[in-house]
């Protein structure tokens, strides 16, 4: 039902009457004093932060935590840059013979090849095996020292050879 204009006017009059029946209530005489005392005691957070260095640090840490956690999560989700996929591979040692190895790492001067014994009887030969071990160790150290200047390489190799010789003698 649409309210008529007359009805609305009468209701407005009634609302005025209702309002006039509800007078404002005076506050106690001490109210304002109490309020201003309370206001002087109450420090808003902003003022506390401005006044105390400790609170400033605490607020900064809090903000960093609040911002940092979602930011870190976002960094984890978003693909950043084009990371090259590194494929790791290896060549089984047994598939390489000495000549292939030298092709890969380059020719090394004065290395001696370990010769695989052609006959089974050498497998249990102690002297032969010692010699193979010494040559392998010498080659290993020589490859290791190849990038260094000759003077260092020869000095260290001489030391290595002395140690290897003492092992063989034992």
């Amino acid at each position: 039902m649409e309210p008529s204009l007359n009805d609305e006017r009468q209701l407005d009059d009634f609302a005025d009457t209702l309002r006039s029946a509800h007078q404002e209530c005076a506050v106690s005489s001490s109210f304002e004093d109490n309020l201003f005392d309370a206001l002087s005691e109450t420090k808003p957070l902003r003022r506390v932060i401005q006044q105390s260095a400790f609170m400033r640090v605490a607020a900064a840490l809090l903000i960093m935590c609040i911002i940092g956690v979602p930011a870190a999560a976002l960094m984890g989700v978003l693909p950043l840059g084009d990371d090259k996929q590194i494929t790791l591979s290896f060549i089984p040692a047994e598939s390489l013979d000495e000549s292939e190895l030298q092709e890969m790492i380059g020719p090394l001067a004065s290395t001696e090849s370990v010769v695989i014994p052609p006959h089974d009887e050498y497998i249990g030969d102690r002297v032969y095996n010692q010699r193979v071990a010494v040559i392998s160790a010498h080659n290993y150290w020589q490859r290791l020292l190849a990038p260094y200047p000759d003077s260092i390489e020869f000095a260290v190799l001489a030391g290595v050879d002395v140690v290897l010789a003492s092992i063989v003698v034992k």
Binding site: T17, A21, C25, V27, F31, L35
Partner: protein, 181 residues
Amino acid sequence: MTKPAEDLLIRFQKGDAAAFAELVEQFAPRLKGFFLRKGVQDSTAEDLIQNVFIRICNTAARYQARGKFDAYCFQIAHNIFIDHCRRNKFTIDDDSVPEQEDVRPQQAEAIEKSDSAAKLREILQEQDDSTRQLLELAVLQQLSYAEVSEILDIPVGTVKSRVYYALRRMRSVFQQYEKDL
């Protein structure tokens, strides 16, 4: 002549403490009536008004003079009253709201009880809680329907129709009372 409350708050934002005192003077009595009609005791009402002004003071920097200050102030008062109810497990039902005589001094009450103003207050107290809330803001505090809608979080159309029907209902009760006199 009282200065518009919005101007007073803007002056207070700029550091004029006297403007805040003027705001308190204008709004404290209105707020006291607001809280008392919600059924709180006199001293509690003053504590709640104090909380309203402390919150206004602390949030003054964020106030933007888009709407009326009245709406801003009563929005805060409404929220503070809800907080108070939650803290004290205080619920309002028709039985818990004190009669208006609690608000008025005893002497005045004896005289007023017989007159029409007392009857009007009685009729308002007889309304259910949500209707009283609506009438408090829309009629007694003269906030716009849009402002009431925002404070109570109900559609403007609902505010309008509920205020209209509540006023009609109350008017017919009051007219009956006047006829019976």
